[in-house]
Symmetry: D2
Subunit: 475 residues, 4 copies
């Protein structure tokens, strides 16, 4: 198996990182991704592609029956369990996106005649070469009170030169999660700007090896001791700003060129793409189960499980899990074969699950805080067995013991709890779950507008009609 | 079709009501129940009983397949839609309960050998005669800080005399919803009292015609003009305290006699009875859809639907509806054939739905308040067309007009809104949904204790094991 | 003492009410108001006006010291306690408003040169004659998505004819709380409409005896038995829509005529008028104390006060009371003598108290619901002593007894609880407290904009400066 | 000025720290404390002690007038502003505690006759030598479902040997905040254990230099770059577990010996000690102002201040500040001279403020998260000026610029925001504010029980009496 190589120009702590795979801030996650990719060679994550004669990721399958959709679920679930739902933008999300574009490729020919041919080629390449891919859509937010069309040119990614072979672009994109690890980044600028539209309205995929493309990382949470920070040291997928300094994009990677309507439609396609949302909700469910499991174990370790208020709070976590599971399940059983022959999960339950997710995760973390409470701040700074004094070790083993667990088990558990509620990785996840779907206000507005209100209307009509009939009877 | 006759001794406003069916406080609900019973003669509410050769309520069917369960759902749904989810203790709930006891009748033979035979007979009678039935379990709550076993004798329903034909009982039961309308009341006293246990531990069904049985109604919300209070005038099912003053219970209606363990088990059976819970959640869903429909229409009538904060709030109502629907649906598709051959819906989703229901309804009503706001308090006190001044009518039609609806339509809609958020019937429903499942704290505690935590444990174990393996690798 | 006479054309249930003071829907509140007015003849409600040589309401005093402000508080408190905070728009609010205009009368001369002279005369008349006054500002809300300036002419109150003696106006105003009981209504239309501005931009006071002025009441909550509905039967202040059908307004009651800037300023003056806000917060505090007292008594009557979750909830009510009290107190002690020589309470604490009030009351009512729970729906429909069967009375006295109170006391208490949580009056108060300050979103926006952020900025600057200095030290 | 030396045996990361003041994990906080102590030499933090002839901390003053109390406030405020409310257990808290014991010293003579004399001496020493002091009360929590009296002996700090000069104790105490920095720790074990009570029931002060006393630190959050983590690098006060391995306590530092009632009373004294609570609330207010200031600045930097939902949320922070300020202010103006001649702030407002604080801070942090949102996760990992590429620096300055601030200013601001919402120090503070008052359930229960409900009762009585009189009138 070929090793993943990551991006070209990665900046951390003001320095360019030269050997990513060996750097303390990246190597844990590199290893995790390597292990994940290895699982493609087997079910349930992979399936044997007839044409290629080898295993590819289930995210690329195009389901025509519910059973095939459920195979996809098994794959997404297996990957998310491997990282306990803590890696949100692994390439399975992007694979699902590209598969969605591939399925609907003919719809986009109207915006760019080359779209179908190019996406076919990219879909095959991605599938076959197991390239890693993430996305970068938003431009720098400098003054959010200004409409996008009033932004200065430099604030939007734009074309600075055109050649027969492609375009040169400059600008910046925020936030590209996972950028240091991937081969490619899908880039779009889905806004309508009044003038010189074609400068901005481009939808392309850029290689992370491209000259002029600089990846500016936030602080790494990963350079940690595995025993003390098992989550951060393995699962920090990194968020980054991508700076484009006259980056060349060859023609065959430009899917929509200079077409404002097209790039907006392509973005909406993403927003509504059920297969990508499907992956997202499966991952969310895994994460909520993980938090529920940790919280239960923490509560049991100090035996607060007998208190009514604790039971109520932990029970709320179980209700979160069962609710998201029911929405996911219903989305599957209400799925149907669309005109294009693809079996698609029902959209509304996935949207509800995503909306609930923006508040569920933060509530779950708050409950874990309330259960573990002061216990999280009295953990010794390292493993008890590392104390350079055996007599002291013995005493600490006595004082840190749990109701039904050894000091070692109990402190290991509280450490995971602390990573979730208190570490920088944990805090980043709280922010991520609140905001990754986009501006919650805008998302809820879309949900309201697109909701099929007809059944509710009919319902009310029945009632109003019935009352009127009664009234007439009484006259 | 035979008319329903209601209970014998019904007390309202300090007076005994002699002609229930004609009394302003009861006749609307009588008519509603009459209409509901008529629907048993047809699908989906009824099914043709092979032995009886006539239609009986679907609540009595004993499903052996998912399809049969779904027929039950269609029946419960049709009935609940007829009253817009506003009648919670119609006999379909009690029918489902009795059907549950009938299915598991042999389990109760250990507490009272006559149980199986008696419940069979009652089940057949109820089904065939379409008797109406409600339940009454709780005794007067005088001092809730005292455990039940420390209560004075008179505070618990108890046997005052025994004869060869049956028992005489005295005491009181709270709350018997629907009592004035029913033929029978299922009575239980599921507590363990240290002394003279057999006095209290009885599980029987009493006829509402029994001498000495007095039904003490709360204030009626029903004696209202249909046009102004369409909900209250048709759907007030009434709550009542039942006073037993040496009421005779014949042997064949005593299902468990003097057996503390038995009556507690019978009560728990009720708590956990999936078929009755199934009806409950179906009704809840209907009600939430109704509130969502009314709120949408109110918002559209004054066109506040363009404001983000309104979209967010109304969208939350849609999310409630889809969440409960998904839980119900998942309960069905996860249902299975039990050892006794009965296809039973999965319990955990029904419990989650019920728990969510205790806060969802009150939140839904709060949202309706926020959308209609001051509009609810400026409604004219009667229909505009009833104003004794035509010129004034014309003016009011101008001032009460909606964004896309006439003054008549808009005020009719706000009146229904006011009934939900402001009327005594509406307030009673808010209380009902919060508390009908029992003490929420106790319910949540049971939920926690019974929850299958094993999958979460396994989950966490996988993770901890994985970390340990990694750590060992690194050594 | 002269009897109050109320308004001229009052419409209830489609009929014009001819004898208000004797009508079941109004007489209870008439009596309450009569009693309140009588208290002006004494301290603390009244003070002896030097010029008039008789007692007038403290709301008219113009405080120049903190002590004088506190005399005002005593008066407002005494009045609000008399109605347990349940009457929100008694004339003391409007008296405070007019006193505010009177104090700042010279500021309004720029919009209408006659303002100072007219307001002086009205202030003196109001004070001396103890006229009753309410306000009516909002026009019918037909389509809230449309800006006010796009509304059709008939939707805004407007001048239809001008004479040398005054103007004739037509239109409608919503909501005039207390309208049936008052002598005068203060009317304003504080919007800027592009065309024919002078038609709309008028600020006047209209007599409720004016021909063409029709008061359209909402449903009355008052026609109730005092024993069963002590609050509603005494304190329903009524909300009404006021229809103007060519109503004549004489010149001396038109304070600002045809001046858009002036009427908007006059409205803002009201919004920010500390003396009126001061009365409002004092009344809110009384109401919160009342709910806290009722809830405590309900909890004690069934002795749930020993449960931790009950203690927590009732304790939250005490915290509401102490918080509002502290804000009010701080507003007083931070008060100061303004340029005009008037001692004014500090504004920001009153605004915070009002903002908190919009959620506190509804939360308080929710807590009362959770404490009384099912107890509210099992109350007998009338007093036990009214049951036409003495033996039954005796039994009910046994079953309705409390932990430390008789059945009579306990049911009386739960009845008041039900009025607060379940009656139409109670529901109207929940709506009132949520919305009376205006659109909460708009109010909060104003609060944010007007807030003095300078101290917070300075604070942050200190910190940033300190860090910078440290950094430089380290270089 | 003498340098502070800190504790003797401090353990971090498994190693004993030998040179605390130079160790990366401690030196920033050492410097902060040093600066704070220096301020005692001046007003407002210090006052000139007549007897000693030198400046001592205002926490030691014994106020007899409101003015003297306000001098104390100025001192507490000045200290808390120096660390922006982020250091919660600086010695001013403990100084206030000891001053409380000193004031009420005669009350404790009944439990230990030596108490008054010893506390006098310690009070004078603490004041004069400016020793640093913290507290440690709770024993290891192994099984919280077990009452304290059922715990095994080793789980409670206990006497292992007695000599004529003092006692030897073994056990552990959690959590001693600030322990590595202080000279002394106040220790108490306020539980009633049935047997051998005198072993456990001791209240003493131990020197951190004592042989056998080991301070086990949690992970340090402080070893950070000042520019990137200005809060953590200066203000991590550290939390620690204190292990006692046969630690000798000399007689003159044992204040109550072997008296269960006495140690419980001493602990309650602490809980209710108004002077210490006063310091606590002043510090809370400083912290809330700091968060409000940072959030305002973050909102302005990306100009989201024009959005209604942002205004509402930031406005909520202002309301928190004004509410706590009003409670504090009212506590002062309602303060009074007690029998012992000491002017004491009113207790109830301080308790309300502390209770509100347990939810306010976590809500404030949540609002800051919602305002800064994704901005916190796209910060570059170091200062822009540290990037080893000038061209890239220039570009980043363009992309990270704010609406009205430079990239440098904006990123500096978001870094402070991230410390509050995302760093380990920030998470520790969220936990601290939620739980430092103790188990919130227990605290609220105490609040309920101690609350003076009489005024509410009187209030309700007035009302009930009034209704009764009315009813009688109507008969």
């Amino acid at each position: 198996m070929t090793a993943i190589k990551g991006a070209g120009h990665v900046w951390l702590d003001g320095k360019q990182v030269t050997n990513l795979a060996e750097h303390a801030a990246f190597k844990g996650t590199f290893q995790t991704i390597q292990e994940l990719l290895a699982r493609i060679d087997d079910e349930p994550v992979g399936y044997k592609d007839a044409k290629l004669g080898k295993y590819v990721h289930q995210a690329f399958s195009i389901p025509t029956t519910k059973e095939q959709l459920l195979e996809k679920r098994a794959a997404f679930e297996a990957w998310s369990i491997q990282s306990f739902g803590m890696m949100s933008r692994l390439s399975d999300y992007a694979y699902a996106l590209i598969t969605g574009y591939y399925i609907d490729r003919e719809q986009f020919a109207q915006y760019d005649a080359t779209f179908p041919r190019k996406i076919e080629r990219y879909y095959e390449q991605l599938k076959s070469e197991r390239r890693l891919l993430t996305t970068a859509i938003a431009d720098p937010q400098i003054d959010r009170s200004k409409p996008l069309t009033e932004r200065p040119e430099h604030a939007l990614l734009h074309v600075v030169e055109e050649t027969t072979d492609g375009i040169y672009v400059s600008g910046a994109k925020m936030i590209a999660t996972g950028a240091p690890y991937v081969d490619d980044i899908l880039v779009n600028t889905p806004y309508s700007k009044a003038e010189e539209q074609e400068k901005f309205a481009n939808f392309f995929i850029v290689s992370t090896q491209s000259p002029g493309l600089e990846i500016i990382c936030r602080k790494s949470h990963a350079a940690q001791d595995l025993a003390l920070y098992p989550l951060a040291s393995q699962f920090d997928e990194m968020d980054a700003v991508v700076v484009f300094n006259r980056v060349f994009i060859p023609n065959d990677r430009i899917f929509i060129r200079g077409n404002a309507e097209g790039v907006v439609k392509a973005h909406r396609h993403q927003q509504l793409n059920e297969l990508a949302h499907y992956q997202t909700v499966i991952r969310l469910l895994t994460k909520l189960k993980f938090v529920a499991g940790v919280t239960t174990a923490v509560a049991e370790s100090i035996r607060v499980t007998e208190f009514l208020n604790v039971q109520q709070k932990v029970g709320e976590l179980y209700m979160q899990v069962d609710t998201i599971e029911a929405l996911l399940h219903t989305s599957e059983t209400n799925g149907f074969v669309q005109e294009n022959g693809v079996f698609t999960p029902s959209a509304v339950q996935l949207q509800v699950a995503r909306n609930l997710g923006t508040s569920y995760y933060s509530r779950a973390i708050s409950i874990l805080k309330e259960i573990g409470a002061g216990g999280f701040t009295q953990l010794p700074s390292t493993l008890i067995e590392r104390f350079e004094d055996e007599a002291l070790q013995k005493q600490l083993e006595t004082y840190y013991v749990g109701a039904a667990s050894s000091a070692k088990q109990k402190t290991a558990l509280f450490r995971i709890g602390w990573e979730l509620v208190g570490s920088e990785l944990g805090s980043r996840h709280d922010l991520y779950e609140r905001f990754y779907t986009g501006d919650p206000f805008r998302i809820q507005s879309l949900f309201f507008e697109n909701y099929d209100k007809l059944p509710l209307d009919d319902y009310l009509d029945t009632f109003l009609t019935k009352i009127q009939q009664r009234e007439e009877l009484l006259l």
